[in-house]
C-alpha cells in the first residue's frame, strides 16, 4: 500500500518541478510583453553588444530559439503555426519561401526601413522582409591549380570540359541547401529543358556527390583546413562566396591572401527573410525586432557573424569580404514561386539522374 503512497509523492514532486520550470520560463503576463522570442536556424549569430543595445533601447528582452538547419526550422515553424514557439521567424530563404507562405506562416507587417532595402530583393506582399543575401558558388583550391598549371574554371560550361574531369565535389540536392542552390543555378542557366542534359555531361565528367556541406567541404575539398589534413583530392567544391574570407578570418596566423577563390560565373543568389509569425504572442515586440534586423547596426554586424551580405543601401561590408571574396556581380536567381513549382520534381529527376 505505502509503495503507492511513495509513487504519489514522486509524481507530485515531478509535477511541482515541471510547473516550476514552466512558470520560470513563461513569466507572468507582465514580463511576457517584455520578452520577444526569435525563432531561427542554427546559423543565427549576432554580436553580444549589438543585441544588448537593442534590448536597452527597446526595453525588450530577446530570447532566441534555434531549430536545426534551415529546412528543419521552417518545417517546425509550420508544424507549430497555430501555437508558435516565438514571435518572429528569421531564416527562411528563397528556396523555401513558398512553403512558408503557402502554409500561412506569417502575418503582414511592413518593416520600418523597408524603403532602404536594395532594389531586387523585395518580394510580393508584405508577409516577409528580406534581411540578408548570400551566394552559393563554386570554390577552388588556388594552390592546386597553380601546382597543376591549370586555369580555374570560370563558368558552368567549363565544368564539363575534359580538363576539369574528376575535380568537382558537390552536395546532395535533396538534403543540402548548397546542393540545392547549385542545382537551381544550373536550372536557371540552362532552362527547364536544358539542365538535365548538362548534369548528364557533368556526371560523365566525374562529379562526386556527398550528402552534406560538411563532408564536401571538410573531407573532399583540397583547399579547406580539414581537406588538407584528410589529403583531399577535389580542388573544386560547391560552397559559399563567403567561404574564402572565412578561411582567412578563421586562421591563426592569418594569411595575406585567401587559400581559396570563388568561381564567379557559377553563383546562385540566396535571400533570407524574416517574418512576424501568425498568432505571435508579442506582435508589438516582434515588429520592433524585425525593424531592428534592418537597422544599419545589425546589417553591418551580420557579415562577420553569419557570413552573409547586408540588403540595405549603404550598409558597409567588412574589408575582409571585399578583399578575399567579392560578391558575385551577376549571380543566377530564380523567382521563389518558380522554385516552389519545380523544386520537388527537379530534385526527384536530379536524384534519379545523378545518384542512381
Amino acid at each position: 500500500m505505502s509503495s503507492k503512497k511513495y509513487f504519489a509523492v514522486v509524481v507530485g514532486l515531478g509535477l511541482v518541478a515541471l510547473s516550476a520550470c514552466g512558470s520560470s520560463d513563461e513569466g507572468g503576463s507582465q514580463s511576457e510583453s517584455k520578452t520577444v522570442t526569435l525563432v531561427s536556424h542554427n546559423s543565427w549569430a549576432v554580436s553580444k553588444g549589438v543585441l544588448a543595445a537593442f534590448e536597452k533601447e527597446s526595453g525588450y528582452q530577446v530570447k532566441v530559439l534555434e531549430d536545426g538547419d534551415a529546412g528543419q526550422a521552417v518545417n517546425k515553424a509550420i508544424l507549430t503555426k497555430d501555437n508558435p514557439q516565438g514571435d518572429v521567424f528569421f531564416g527562411v530563404d528563397n528556396t523555401l519561401l513558398s512553403r512558408a507562405l503557402d502554409n500561412g506562416l506569417f502575418q503582414s507587417y511592413e518593416a520600418k526601413g523597408a524603403d532602404t532595402i536594395k532594389a531586387g530583393y523585395r518580394v510580393d506582399g508584405d508577409k516577409v522582409t528580406p534581411i540578408d543575401t548570400g551566394d552559393i558558388c563554386l570554390n577552388y583550391d588556388k594552390a592546386w591549380f597553380t601546382e597543376h598549371k591549370l586555369q580555374p574554371p570560370t563558368s558552368y560550361d567549363d565544368l564539363i570540359k575534359p580538363a576539369y574531369k574528376n575535380l568537382l565535389v558537390t552536395e546532395n540536392a535533396s538534403t543540402s541547401s548548397p546542393g540545392l542552390g547549385f542545382l537551381l543555378g544550373t536550372a536557371a542557366k540552362y532552362g527547364d529543358d536544358g539542365w538535365e542534359a548538362y548534369w548528364t555531361k557533368l556526371k560523365a565528367n566525374g562529379v562526386k556527390v556527398v550528402d552534406g556541406w560538411e563532408q564536401a567541404y571538410n573531407e573532399e575539398f583540397s583547399g579547406s583546413a580539414g581537406g588538407k589534413k584528410a589529403k583531399a583530392d577535389r580542388p573544386l567544391v560547391v560552397s559559399y562566396a563567403s567561404s574564402p574570407p572565412a578561411e582567412v578570418i578563421y586562421a591563426d596566423p592569418k594569411p595575406s591572401t585567401a587559400p581559396t577563390g570563388v568561381v564567379e560565373g557559377t553563383c546562385f543568389r540566396q535571400v533570407e527573410y524574416a517574418g512576424l509569425l501568425r498568432n505571435a504572442k508579442n506582435s508589438k515586440g516582434g515588429k520592433a525586432l524585425i525593424d531592428f534586423l534592418l537597422t544599419k547596426k545589425f546589417q553591418e554586424d551580420m557579415p562577420l557573424n553569419m557570413f552573409v551580405y547586408p540588403v540595405v543601401e549603404g550598409a558597409a561590408v567588412p574589408a575582409e569580404f571585399t578583399k578575399y571574396g567579392p560578391a558575385a556581380k551577376d549571380p543566377e536567381t530564380m523567382d521563389p514561386a518558380k522554385i516552389a513549382d519545380h523544386r520537388d520534381d527537379w530534385v526527384k529527376s536530379w536524384t534519379s539522374l545523378v545518384l542512381k
Binding site: V10, E26, E66, G68, G71, V210, S224, A230, A246, D344
Partner: protein, 533 residues
C-alpha cells in the same frame, strides 16, 4: 510502475503518436491507404531492403570481429585490461558526428588501408559495415564477455577429463550456456545498425539510405509527413519484433546458469596460441577502434601551442554567443539532470519488473522501455513540438526538454543494468524484513539498496555517458546560449575555416576524454552480475 508508465506515455508515446497521426490524418479522417501507397514505391522498397541486409551483414561482421575480443576480456588477465575495456566502450557513447569524420581517416583517401594496400572504402558499403563494427564492438564484448567471465571453466575441464576433445567440450558445454547472450548481443547490434543514421549519412554518401535516414529526409527536408509516418510505423513494427525476440532470449539466459565470480575465471594467457590470440585481439582493437580516435586527437593538436584548445575559450569566433568551452559545462549539467531522471524512472521500472506478482503486462513493459532506442530522433523531436505545446506542459522552449530527451535513451540502459541484480536479490530477505515489521520503504532501504547500490552507480554512470554523447534529439532542442558538446562540434564543423575545424576536433577530443573517464570510473565499480552493457 505508475511513474515510468506516465513518463513514457507523456514524453515518448504521446509525441510519437501525435506526429504519426498528423502525417496519416487529412481533414479528420485516417488515410490508411497511404501505407500501401508508400510501400509500393520502388525507392522505399529499396531502402527497406538495404536497411535489412546491411544490418544483417553488420551484425555478422561485428560478431566475427568482437567475439574473440569477448573471450579474451573474459578469460585472460593482462595489464591495462580495465582501461582497455573502457576504451572500447568509448565509440559506443560518442556521437557519430564526431567520429564519422575520424573514421574516414581509416578507410578513406590517404587512410591506413589506402597507404598499405591502396584500398579506399569511403562511400562504399564496406565503410558503413566497418563503422558499425567500430560502434558496436563494446555491445558484444560487454554482453557476451560479461557472461563468459562468469561461466565456471571447471565444467568444460570436467568434460575434457571425461574424454571430450577441447572443441567438443566447448561446443557441448560452453556454447549452449553462451548462446542466449550471443543472441541478445546480436539482436542489440542488429537493432542499432537497423536504425543507423549518422554512420550511413556520413560514410555512405547519398546513394545509401536506411529507413532512419529516409524518415529524417522525409520529415526534415521534403516535409512529407505522410510518408514519414508510414516509415515510422514500419520501423516501429520491425523494432518491436526485434525487441520481443530480445526479451525472450534475455529471459532464457536468466534461468539456469550457475555463475561464478569473474575474478576467478581469468588468468594469464599461456602458450604461443593464447598469446597470439591476445595479440590478435589487441591489434584489432588498435587498428579498428583506437586509430580513428587517435586521428581526432592528432588533428586537434595540429596547431602550435595547443592553439585550437586555446581558441575554445574565446567567444570571438561568432559561431556561438558563448566561448565553445562552455559547452562542456552545459553538457555536464544536462547529463547530470538526464541521469537523475533516467535513474529515477529506470530504477522504479526495474523495481516494478522484479516483483513476484509482476504480470504479463509488466513484463511486456520491459521490452517497451527499449523502444526509444529504435525510434528516430526526428520523429520524437517533431512530436515534442506538437504534443507538448500547451501549459502546464509547454516544454518546447524549456531547458528540461534536453535532459528529458536524453533520459529516454538512458532509461533502457538503467533498466538493463539493474534488472539482473534486482532479480538476484533473495525474495525471502524482503519477506523476513517485512515479517519483522519493516515498512516497504524500509525494506527497500535496508535490503535492496545496499545490494543494488553498485549496480545503481553503474547504471547512473552509463546513463551519464550516453547523455553526454546524445546528439540526435539534443540537436533539435538545444538552445543557442547553451549548446552541448556534440551540438557545438556539429556547428563548428558547419563553418569554413581552419580554426573552426580545429576547434571541432579539440572539442571532440575533450568529449572523448570525458566519456572515457566516466567509463573508467564504471570499470572500477563493476559487480559480478552487471554484464549486460
Amino acid at each position: 510502475m505508475v511513474v515510468p508508465v506516465a513518463f513514457f506515455g507523456l514524453f515518448f508515446a504521446w509525441p510519437v503518436a501525435a506526429i504519426v497521426a498528423r502525417g496519416l490524418k487529412t481533414d479528420g479522417s485516417w488515410q490508411f491507404g497511404r501505407i500501401a501507397d508508400v510501400l509500393a514505391q520502388s525507392d522505399i522498397r529499396h531502402v527497406l531492403w538495404f536497411t535489412t541486409w546491411q544490418a544483417l551483414a553488420s551484425t555478422a561482421l561485428t560478431l566475427a570481429v568482437a567475439l574473440p575480443g569477448a573471450y579474451v576480456f573474459a578469460r585472460y588477465d593482462f595489464p591495462g585490461k580495465q582501461i582497455l575495456r573502457a576504451v572500447v566502450t568509448v565509440p559506443f557513447v560518442l556521437p557519430t558526428v564526431v567520429v564519422g569524420t575520424a573514421f574516414l581517416a581509416l578507410v578513406g583517401r590517404g587512410g591506413l588501408l589506402d597507404e598499405l594496400w591502396g584500398v579506399r572504402l569511403d562511400t562504399t558499403v564496406w565503410a558503413i559495415l566497418l563503422a558499425h563494427v567500430f560502434f558496436n564492438y563494446a555491445v558484444v564484448v560487454r554482453t557476451v564477455g560479461g557472461l563468459w567471465a562468469q561461466l565456471d571453466p571447471r565444467q568444460e575441464e570436467a568434460a575434457r577429463m571425461l574424454g571430450a576433445s577441447s572443441w567438443r567440450a566447448w561446443r557441448k558445454v560452453t556454447l549452449p550456456a553462451l548462446a542466449p547472450a550471443v543472441a541478445a548481443a546480436a539482436l542489440m547490434v542488429f537493432l542499432f545498425t537497423f536504425t543507423s543514421f549518422g554512420v550511413v549519412q556520413i560514410l555512405g554518401g547519398p546513394t545509401f539510405s536506411t529507413l532512419e535516414v529516409e524518415i529524417y529526409r522525409q520529415t526534415s527536408e521534403i516535409f512529407d509527413l505522410g510518408t514519414a509516418a508510414v516509415l515510422t510505423l514500419v520501423q516501429f513494427v520491425a523494432v518491436g519484433a526485434i525487441l520481443a525476440v530480445h526479451a525472450w532470449t534475455v529471459r532464457r539466459r536468466e534461468s539456469v546458469l550457475r555463475l561464478v565470480a569473474p575474478e576467478t575465471t581469468a588468468r594469464r594467457p599461456r602458450g604461443a596460441g593464447q598469446w597470439a590470440l591476445l595479440a590478435g585481439v589487441l591489434a584489432t582493437i588498435a587498428v579498428l577502434l583506437v586509430l580513428p580516435l587517435a586521428v581526432l586527437v592528432q588533428r586537434s593538436l595540429d596547431a602550435p601551442d595547443f592553439g585550437y584548445y586555446r581558441a575554445l575559450t574565446s567567444a570571438d569566433g561568432g559561431v556561438f554567443l558563448v566561448p565553445p568551452i562552455e559547452a562542456i559545462g552545459n553538457s555536464l549539467e544536462y547529463a547530470v539532470a538526464a541521469t537523475a531522471i533516467a535513474v529515477l524512472i529506470g530504477g522504479l521500472a526495474a523495481a516494478a519488473l522484479t516483483r513476484r506478482d509482476a504480470g504479463r503486462f509488466v513484463r511486456g513493459f520491459d521490452a517497451l522501455l527499449m523502444l526509444p532506442l529504435g525510434v528516430s530522433a526526428v520523429t520524437v523531436g517533431f512530436g515534442f513540438l506538437i504534443a507538448l505545446d500547451e501549459p502546464p506542459l509547454d516544454l518546447r522552449a524549456s531547458w528540461i526538454l534536453v535532459p528529458l530527451a536524453q533520459a529516454l535513451v538512458g532509461v533502457p540502459f538503467v533498466v538493463r543494468t539493474m534488472l539482473p541484480v534486482l532479480r538476484a536479490v533473495d525474495q525471502r530477505l524482503r519477506e523476513a524484513a517485512a515479517v519483522l515489521g519493516a515498512s516497504p520503504w524500509r525494506v527497500w532501504r535496508e535490503v535492496d539498496l545496499p545490494l543494488v547500490r553498485r549496480a545503481l552507480l553503474i547504471a547512473a554512470g552509463f546513463a551519464f555517458a550516453v547523455s553526454l554523447g546524445e546528439f540526435g534529439a539534443t540537436v533539435f532542442i538545444a538552445r543557442p546560449d547553451n549548446p552541448t558538446l556534440p551540438v557545438a562540434v556539429a556547428r563548428l564543423l558547419g563553418r569554413a575555416g581552419d580554426l573552426n575545424y580545429g576547434q571541432a576536433m579539440a572539442l571532440s577530443t575533450i568529449l572523448m576524454v570525458v566519456c572515457a573517464v566516466a567509463l573508467l570510473v564504471l570499470e572500477r565499480l563493476r559487480t559480478d552480475r552487471t554484464g549486460e552493457f
